[in-house]
């Protein structure tokens, strides 16, 4: 009990300090809230915590007093009373009243956090094993967000960086002070999009579109992690949100639009084998290497090797089919939905001509385009 109280006091103290403009995350308490909902939740938690501590101290104060005084070794003789309707009614009614007092603010917060109406902007979030995709439908921008911590840090051959496992290549970027509505779904299994600083945790569920919203109080970088077990790399799909001023956000958005126009490869062009392989290597690293490994050897039997595999060295149509449509009841996703024609063509060409595979054939974007019809 003493350790509990002390640590609670510590937690409270630290959270107060962090309230005093301490950007660093607390080790003892919820992170400093950065949105109205998160603040409400923070206060709710503090309130309930102190109610619990108070009840604990009173109830177990009585118990330890009794243990101290009413022991046989100090010669205490047992009384023989039992049953007392009055006391029993009291200790039923008082907790009931306390619960009602807790339920009222909690209900208010629920109603607030569930009200995703009238957003200033909408971002669609699609979860994949094991990455996030953010789409800004109004702007026509879409990108994947992958863990950017290098492998050697995870395996302990390089010193770990400050944001170890909590850093991504392309963070979600939103403007400060705007109500951002998220529409969440998943492509394969259930994931959960969670950023405590905004008071959000929402499962991303295949076949459903769920919503959540937040309005960030101030610019900064906020981090979270996938919070529903989603397979092998569940621990390696972080969430990073960059909150920018409206001005910076607009600049960022303009850059994105320019970049996506420049990067987009022409799906109607016929590419050379080297061009396809070079692009395919990038697509492979971002989408396939988590399971099939960078060297194509996989992690059999759950994640089969591509090096020398029947599919990657056999019939081209079967290879295209599995990449486009996935394999049911395995982690092999239907990449036809995630990747464009150039990406699919390139990655298949790459797989058929790497890791010792040497089919010598190639797939052109036009082949994929034809299949989609």
């Amino acid at each position: 009990m003493i350790s509990k109280m002390r640590s609670l006091g510590l937690g409270w103290g630290v959270s107060l300090m962090s309230m005093a403009a301490w950007a660093e995350e607390s080790k003892y308490n919820l992170p400093t809230p950065q949105s109205v909902v998160a603040s409400e939740i923070f206060n709710l938690h503090v309130l309930i915590m102190w109610v619990c501590v108070a009840i604990f101290v009173v109830v177990f104060g009585v118990m330890f007093y009794s243990i101290w005084k009413h022991r046989k070794s100090v010669g205490h003789k047992a009384a023989h009373f039992h049953e007392n309707t009055q006391i029993e009614i009291i200790w039923t009614v008082i907790p009931f009243a306390i619960l009602i007092a807790m339920a009222i603010p909690a209900s208010k917060t629920i109603l607030n956090m569930r009200d995703a109406s009238n957003p200033d902007m909408t971002v669609k979030v699609v979860a994949y094993q094991w990455k996030w995709e953010y789409e800004y439908p109004a702007e026509g921008i879409k990108f994947l967000s992958n863990l950017s911590t290098p492998r050697d840090q995870i395996e302990g051959t390089a010193p770990k960086g400050e944001h170890y496992l909590l850093e991504v290549d392309n963070p979600l970027v939103v403007p400060v002070g705007k109500k951002v509505r998220l529409l969440l779904t998943a492509n394969d299994v259930i994931h959960a999009w969670s950023v405590q600083a905004f008071g959000i945790k929402q499962d991303a569920i295949p076949g459903f579109i769920k919503d959540a919203w937040f309005k960030a109080d101030k610019p900064g970088t906020y981090r979270g992690q996938c919070s529903e077990l989603c397979g092998k790399d569940h621990g390696f799909m972080p969430i990073v949100v960059e909150v920018k001023t409206q001005e910076d956000y607009d600049k960022w958005m303009a850059e994105q639009k320019a970049k996506s126009a420049a990067v987009t490869m022409d799906p109607n062009k016929t590419y050379s084998a080297d061009e396809l392989k070079a692009h395919g290597a990038k697509v492979y690293a971002a989408n396939c290497a988590a399971c099939h490994q960078a060297d194509g050897k996989g992690l059999p039997p759950a994640f089969p090797a591509l090096a020398g595999s029947k599919i990657a060295t056999g019939d081209k149509a079967a290879h295209i089919n599995i990449v486009m449509n996935g394999k049911p009841n395995t982690a092999m996703a239907a990449f036809g939905k995630q990747l464009n024609d150039v990406d699919v063509a390139a990655v298949i060409t790459y797989e058929r001509n790497s890791f010792g595979n040497a089919t010598g054939d190639m797939v052109q974007p036009a082949d994929i385009k034809a299949l989609r019809k």
Binding site: K27, L44, M63, A78, H82, I190, P301, A302
Partner: protein, 526 residues
């Protein structure tokens, strides 16, 4: 068993000895012993898996295993502890104690009783064996959520069959217990005179009969989705992944109480015994237990607050969940009122019982925190939840099992256990338990998700502390093994009424050790 010959009515067609005695036994005491040893072996197995988990989490970075294997460990740790360690231990207590406490000669269906037990090693072999099949053991979490569980190899099918077998065993055990309690009570023992342990088991058995078939249905749907082309949970085929969670938790929440109600029963026997004072509110304890059981059917979706339930559902499940605090509070108040103005002594069973009341209540408080939907949104699937359910399942369910073992060992073996070693076991367990699990509250609040094999640097300190606690707690359990073996071998002879304050039939009417057959002529209860 020589001493018991006088009342051994086998009439010459004696029972087998050696191994066959245990394989063919229909004696409730033998079967109780089997259940308890099975449970202990599973406790050590599941505990070993937990230590591997904690070893990997000692420091950030992947040190000793791959992420898939880590997921197998968390999955199997959960399944083995819930279905292999905790539940069978309580059935073991029921087998030993229910007939003796109600003055019955044996369980109502002795042959079925044998079969209920011997299904368990089969299921356990499937679970443990799945570590050695291609692809490794199930890695989708003990909750087996679809669609993740639809991925993966043959080990998932082995897990499904193991769950089926465990379910059959539990249902048969439960039917046996209900029938025994309702039909075989000694003359004069009305329902409201039954010891509280018997009451809690009666209610638990009904819960088991109600929800184990639901779990069987859920895993059968997983099986047909995996192999027979159905799409119950497959969104691409028109199925609903969230439906799995509804069905699973409709089983899962009552399951939580299946693991804690018998614990309440054991604690309610022990505290009055060592306070030398009757239980403060017997009737209100019975009603509180029943209320908890009934409420357990209408709170399941509090495990699913982050799935995006309708707002009305979130409110309803929050209110219903908060209500559970009331009967649970009534129980805690009753135990404390029982201790009040008693004449307490603090033998090992009482120490574990007091720690139970205290630490279980911490788990109850964190449960209340989690009941508050908005707070749960922040803490769902973090280490806070891990801390919460270990406070109720380890310092709750498991502590009551320890308390019960120390309490009844004299009756079972005829010898007093080594009190010094018992107390050592208690203090080591309790200190390391808190070092292990208390910091997890902080980890969860700070945002560390559960079921991850590697973590960000800000979580490093508390993970290291927790791992130290884990190894201390795990190794402390070997003391229990020593105590039990020593007690079986010998020790100070126990009297029939080994504890001064004990007043149930097994203490007042039977010698220690309890003879192989007891109450062939029922006692009369005033």
């Amino acid at each position: 068993m020589e001493a018991t010959h006088a009342i051994d009515h086998d009439h010459g067609h004696g029972h087998p000895t050696g191994l066959m005695r245990w394989v063919t036994t229909t004696n409730h005491k033998d079967i109780g012993t089997l259940y308890l040893w099975f449970s202990f072996i599973m406790l050590l197995t599941g505990g070993t898996l937990a230590l591997l988990i904690r070893a990997e989490l000692f420091q950030p970075g992947m040190q000793i295993m791959r992420p898939e294997f880590f997921n197998s460990l968390t999955t199997m740790h959960g399944l083995i502890m819930v279905f292999g360690a905790i539940m069978p231990a309580f059935v073991g207590f029921a087998n030993w104690q229910v007939p003796m406490m109600i003055g019955a000669p044996d369980m109502a269906f002795p042959r079925m009783n044998n079969w209920s037990f011997w299904l368990l090693p089969v299921a356990a072999s499937l679970l443990v064996g799945s570590f050695f099949v291609p692809g490794g053991a199930s890695a989708g979490g003990w909750t087996m959520y679809a669609p993740l569980f639809l991925q993966g190899g043959i080990s998932n099918d082995m897990t499904i069959f193991a769950v089926h077998i465990l379910g059959i065993s539990s249902i048969m055990g439960a039917i046996n217990i209900v029938t025994t309690i309702l039909n075989l009570r000694a003359p004069g023992m009305t329902l409201m005179k039954m010891p509280l342990f018997v009451w809690t088991w009666l209610i638990t058995a009904y819960l088991l009969i109600a929800v184990m078939p639901v779990l069987a249905g859920a895993v059968t749907m997983l099986l047909t989705d995996r192999h027979f082309g159905t799409s119950f949970f497959n969104a691409a085929g028109g199925g609903d992944p969230v439906m799995f969670q509804h069905i699973f938790w409709f089983f899962g929440h009552p399951e939580v109480y299946i693991m804690i109600l018998p614990a309440f029963g054991i604690i309610s026997q022990i505290i009055p015994t060592f306070a030398r004072k009757p239980l403060f509110g017997y009737a209100s304890m019975v009603y509180a237990t029943s209320s908890i059981a009934i409420l357990s059917f209408i709170v399941w979706a509090h495990h699913m607050f982050t799935t995006g339930l309708p707002t009305a559902a979130q409110l309803f499940f929050m209110y219903a969940t908060m209500l559970i605090a009331i009967p649970t509070g009534v129980k805690v108040f009753n135990w404390i009122a029982t201790m009040w103005k008693g004449s307490m002594t603090f033998e090992t069973p009482m120490l574990f019982a007091i720690a139970f009341v205290c630490l279980f209540t911490i788990g109850g408080f964190s449960g209340l925190v989690l009941a508050i939907t908005p707070v749960d949104i922040q803490l769902q699937d973090t280490y806070y939840v891990v801390a919460h359910f270990h406070y109720v399942l380890v310092s709750g369910a498991l502590y009551s099992i320890f308390a019960g073992v120390y309490f009844w060992l004299p009756k079972w073996t005829g010898n007093m256990y080594d009190e010094k070693l018992g107390k050592l076991h208690f203090w080591m367990s309790t200190i390391f338990f808190n070092i292990l699990f208390f910091p997890m509250h902080f980890l969860g609040l700070a945002g560390m998700p559960r079921r991850i094999p590697d973590y960000a640097l800000q979580f490093a300190d508390w993970n290291m502390v927790a791992t130290i606690g884990a190894f201390g707690f795990g190794l402390s359990q070997l003391i229990l093994l020593v105590v039990v073996l020593k007690c079986i071998k010998g020790g100070v002879k126990a009297e029939g009424r080994a504890w001064e304050g004990a007043d149930t039939l097994e203490w007042t009417h039977l010698p220690s050790p309890a003879p192989y057959h007891t109450f062939e002529t029922p006692p009369t209860v005033k």
